[in-house]
Assembly symmetry: none
Homo-oligomer: 142 residues x 4
């Protein structure tokens, strides 16, 4: 007699209330730093949950902020941890989405990855700083 494997498994989702808390904290930190940013928040399926482009932020960094958020959610680790010898091959083979640029973090709450945040328009370290402010506001793992 064979044992059937479970057809579903429990999961968790970031609420829109949570996404807006993260967005507001990121904007507040970026304003404090005087560095306008694009901030993308995605769910664990890589679909956009919330976004803002701040006054003066670089237009094309919207797309990089999204790639950072999706990459972090996909791999459940901060961007910039891929093997540098592979990063360009992975970027290209994934259709351009998988990035190793600094500024993307998984959103891990109570041990579950519920999505990712990506910040782009500043220097790498500034993007990281703003993303971490958002994670802190959520009480997420940093």
């Amino acid at each position: 007699m064979t044992e059937q494997k479970p057809l579903t498994r429990p999961a968790a989702k970031l609420t829109h209330a949570g996404a807006l808390v993260a967005l507001a904290a990121a904007v507040a930190r970026a304003e404090e730093m005087g560095v306008p940013q694009n901030i993308s928040i995605v769910d664990d399926g890589g679909n956009l949950l919330a976004f803002v482009r701040m006054d003066g932020a670089k237009l094309l960094s919207r797309e990089t902020s999204l790639s950072k958020a999706i990459s972090a959610a996909s791999h459940r680790q901060p961007t910039s941890r891929l093997d540098p010898a592979l990063e360009l091959k992975l970027a290209i083979a994934s259709g351009g989405r998988l990035t190793n640029l600094e500024g993307g973090f998984p959103i891990i709450i109570d041990g579950v990855c519920v999505g990712g945040i990506g910040v782009g328009s500043g220097k790498g370290s500034e993007d990281v700083d703003v993303a971490k402010a958002a994670l802190a506001a959520l009480g997420a793992q940093i």
Copy 2:
């Protein structure tokens, strides 16, 4: 004192074991009918979980089966329930993905929508028949 809204909400995911059970049931039914099919199963974020194209199935129906699966998961209802007066506008405005073709069903288990299935290559009624066989194998809502 304000009450904080929850940052996360509980959810469920279809396992790959579940997706493969659905795929096998769909293939068995299509073989029984003698109608080769493309069968796409996506999660609730519209991302592909499992797929098969059967011998002799129409090549381009792979894409329609995927659109059906994503549409059903997105709207949590079978395809073909959109207002006919709006369906083409919705299809175009959604970048082509939102379809009203028959053959897409949400996968609802224990009252939770965990994804969608789309079947394409036969007549509409044949596609529906095969999708329903997959849902039945999962004990999902039909």
Copy 3:
């Protein structure tokens, strides 16, 4: 003696503070109605300024909300005012972006169109209702 035509002309832009005010008002109204929505706010260049997808909103309506916002900003009028005899031809010839679905409005402040808002996931009239709440919060023309 010929008079040179001016080389630049004055303009106005919606700030991220303004976009977030609109987003919050739209979310509040949608919560009040019990209808989860996708809300897209774009600048006058059709580029996304702010976005949120509410818990339970239809996934594919993200793209339709964006098409509505871009269409309204482009034409500086609410969506659903195109000639029905032309709407599908216009939609296709514009690469899919120009939509006549209800729920898109230009954001006109002090007589200047600074962008557009698009709402999608509810019925047309619900989408319109939420978009108008956002415009009201901005003191924009309705």
Copy 4:
């Protein structure tokens, strides 16, 4: 008297039954290793025949697994055999599909290449291991 060249040539195709055997063997091996994977199987035209994303596999590795499968089927050799000095130029010039990442193998049965398999989400050596388990189940050349 001139001899006419043949107008057609014999070929062979992987059946969906064969593709599902390969998929099941790959899943079984990945489960044994405790490394969830994306597994893509394509025909000799690079068109998807079968796919599964296992619980916990990286989302973006779906696309890399597909690129590996198509690359292997196209070149009728394992990925990672391109000249490293050319690999990025080839990747870009092929629209991103041709990859040199480890984990892609042609499916060669009775000396005929009938498609390719690509595995992605683990380390390169883990991806290779899973792909070889699928080839072994098919009695294909390794």
